[in-house]
């Protein structure tokens, strides 16, 4: 396949396939959770489960002081790369154009220098997180193949995006093809891995907060 | 003549730290046979010494605390009321040696209570009601101490 043909395929059919797998996968996995249901609580409530659940969905994003002191690297690096991913994904002008094409929505972008710096910081944070995963006793013990695979498919779009923007190494067309392919890889891997946490953490936090709120505890 | 707990407690409250200790020791000595741990015996000898140094008392307290930990009924284990009697004697010894002000109600009062508990434990095993008599013996013991 020639360069332009490959790019057309990556931007067209491949993206459609990846999107279908992604959406179907996410829906199936969420369905698999919800279909199990949970038994109603017959104990007398002290507080509101719903209020507790919703509260924890947001409040759990703020670590308590002791945890912040004890697990500083984990939390700080984690926040940096998560924020970085969102900023580059949502506020880079070419990405916003893509959203406009597909969803009909549009919003202001951030200057490219900001996006560029964010990308670099995010990549550094992701590298640091990998080192931590390998070097820290608990991380090393807990980690499985999937953790490293997910790390790879997460950093690839950042790196390939940076290379594509700066036109380093290959032709611009090749670089953009590789970048889009890396995103499609992420999308396809997403529903089968812990990346699902992006959606399911809302349920998990809600259940946690609801069970605690029922008893009158803020979790 | 002390005839009830109100009077008993009132007398105890009037005692200073050293006197509470010496009174408490007498209560413990009355139930000492219920406990088989030598550390309690030795500690009570130290505590009975009116001129015992603070260090000696602190050491005695430490050894008695260790003894108490060893003889308490562990959660979920099969309870043994004979052993519990010894546990309560050890607790009485702790109270006797604890500086005044640290235990609500005072050291001597807590010691007296624990001694009574020791007799009650014993009576659970034997089936007799000897626990009741202990408080009356304590009134007599305290009266004797006050008169000495």
């Amino acid at each position: 396949m020639s360069e332009p043909e490959l790019l057309i395929w990556i931007r067209g059919p491949a993206l459609q396939i990846a999107t279908v797998i992604f959406l179907l996968g996410v829906v199936v996995r969420i369905f698999e959770i919800l279909v199990l249901g949970r038994k109603p609580n017959l104990a007398e409530a002290r507080g509101s489960a719903v209020a507790g659940g919703l509260r924890t969905v947001f409040a759990r994003s703020i670590p308590d002081r002791g945890t912040l002191q004890r697990s500083t690297f984990n939390l700080v690096a984690g926040y940096i790369f998560h924020t970085g991913i969102f900023i580059t994904l949502l506020f880079f002008a070419p990405h916003i154009l893509l959203f406009q094409d597909t969803l009909g929505l549009s919003w202001p972008s951030l200057p490219t220098q900001v996006i560029d710096a964010t990308t670099v910081v995010t990549i550094i944070a992701l590298l640091a997180v990998l080192v931590h995963r390998v070097a820290h006793r608990v991380m090393r013990y807990l980690s499985r193949f999937q953790d490293y695979l997910v790390w790879l498919v997460t950093i690839l779009p950042m790196v390939t995006g940076y290379l594509a923007f700066h036109r380093i190494g290959l032709t611009p067309q090749h670089l953009i093809t590789i970048h889009i392919a890396s995103v499609e890889l992420l999308m396809v891997v997403f529903p089968f891995t812990k990346l699902m946490h992006a959606f399911t953490l809302f349920f998990a936090r809600y259940y946690n907060g609801a069970m605690a709120g029922y008893k009158g505890v803020n979790s | 003549m002390i005839t009830n707990d109100r009077e008993f407690r009132a007398v105890l409250d009037g005692l200073d730290a050293r006197q509470q200790r010496l009174a408490a020791v007498r209560f413990v000595e009355d139930v000492l046979p219920l406990c088989t741990d030598e550390r309690i015996n030795r500690a009570m000898v130290v505590a009975a010494d009116g001129g015992a140094s603070a260090t000696a008392l602190a050491d005695a307290l430490k050894s008695v605390k260790a003894a108490t930990i060893d003889c308490h009924a562990r959660c979920g284990a099969e309870g043994d009321w004979d052993a519990q009697a010894g546990y309560f004697v050890a607790r009485a010894a702790i109270a006797a040696l604890t500086p005044l002000g640290q235990l609500p109600g005072g050291s001597a009062w807590q010691a007296a209570m624990s001694c009574r508990m020791a007799q009650t434990s014993k009576s659970i095993v034997s089936g007799e009601n000897s626990g009741e008599l202990e408080s009356e013996r304590q009134y007599a013991i305290l009266s004797a101490y006050m008169n000495s």
Binding site: G37, V138 | I69, A77, N129
Partner: protein, 419 residues
Amino acid sequence: MTASLERGLHAFKEQIDAPVASFFTSCVRCGLCAEACLFFTETGDPSYTPIHKLEPLRRVWKQEYTFWGRLAKAVGLSKPVTDTELAQWETLVYDSCTLCGRCSMVCPVGNDIAYMIRRMREGMAAAGHAPEGLIGATTRAVTIGSPMGVKLPALLAQIGHTEKDIGMKIPVDVAGADYMLLLSSMEIMNFPEFIGAVAKIFSKAGVSWTISSEAFEATNSGIQIGVSEIAAQLVQRIVDAAEKLKVKSVISPECGHAYMAIRWEGPNLIGKPYNFKVVHILELLDDLRKQGRLKTSGKETQRLTYHDPCQIARRGGVVDQPRNLINMVAENFVEMPETGTMNWCCGAGGGVSANERADELRLAAFKRKKKQLDVVRPDALVSACSNCRIQLEDGLEENNMDIPVLSLTETIAEHLVDD
């Protein structure tokens, strides 16, 4: 596959609900739960990472309730959970976890890990992999009525002794009383002065109460070992007695897991709501305080701090009440550096102290509490759970720390106004 392994795996499957599935799906292996668990922080052993304690349950979830997991299992590509593995996990699930729930407060994706451990114990017990000490306790609880074998005559003897000492009758089997008090075996055996303290307070406050000779035991060994049928049986005894005596409310004494069992798990275990209320003794005392029925005099001048029993505070919701009560009788009360729902576990609850094999680990875990105490430097330590009390005393003694441990209820009783 042996019959018992099959029972265990079946129990695992039954225990997996939507929350459990959402938790396993969301875990990103960040390791934050380890830093929240005193068994890890005080030993540095990564196998005590809370989420790791659930590994067999996670695999069952994956193989039974996820598309790819089921597919992999069907084509023989998945790793089945074996009996050996469950045997290996026994110490992780029972020795190194008190169900304290601190991990559940810290997990960034919101996993309630303690909730899952509680459920995993159902499978472990069904598979025959629960600690000996707990099995004995549970058997005694069912056959004798108390995990420590405390029979009615023994309780009556303690009651008799108490009556003599405080000079008032202790109501037993009084129908129509407002409150029915439960007692834990630990209190009856190790801290029977609790009974007298409660009696004095209730007398002064004009509380109508009773103890039931048919159901006086608060401790629920079924919860600790993880056998819901037994836990339900033990709760039903209490329900039957409460209904027979037509009381309005049942009081859970100073024991952490007892409160969790009767207040929060109880109705769900027996499958129907109660027609009486359940309060922790501290809740009742605080209510009396608010109503002006609890009159105390004098204050402790020594520097006091409070240890929150996990099942009462973090997992139970009784957080403010003990503080209100302590402030009534103390002028020098200082909080621990991490307190309330974020306080650290004593290390002995949830069946750990009933398990001799876990002794060394339990005392190592205590070091977390020691570190808190080293910062606060109190003259005395107040708490509201008999098991915490014994563990605290044990740990303090082991570490040569001279700090008396006081019961909150008993301290309140000591300060009651005399008429």
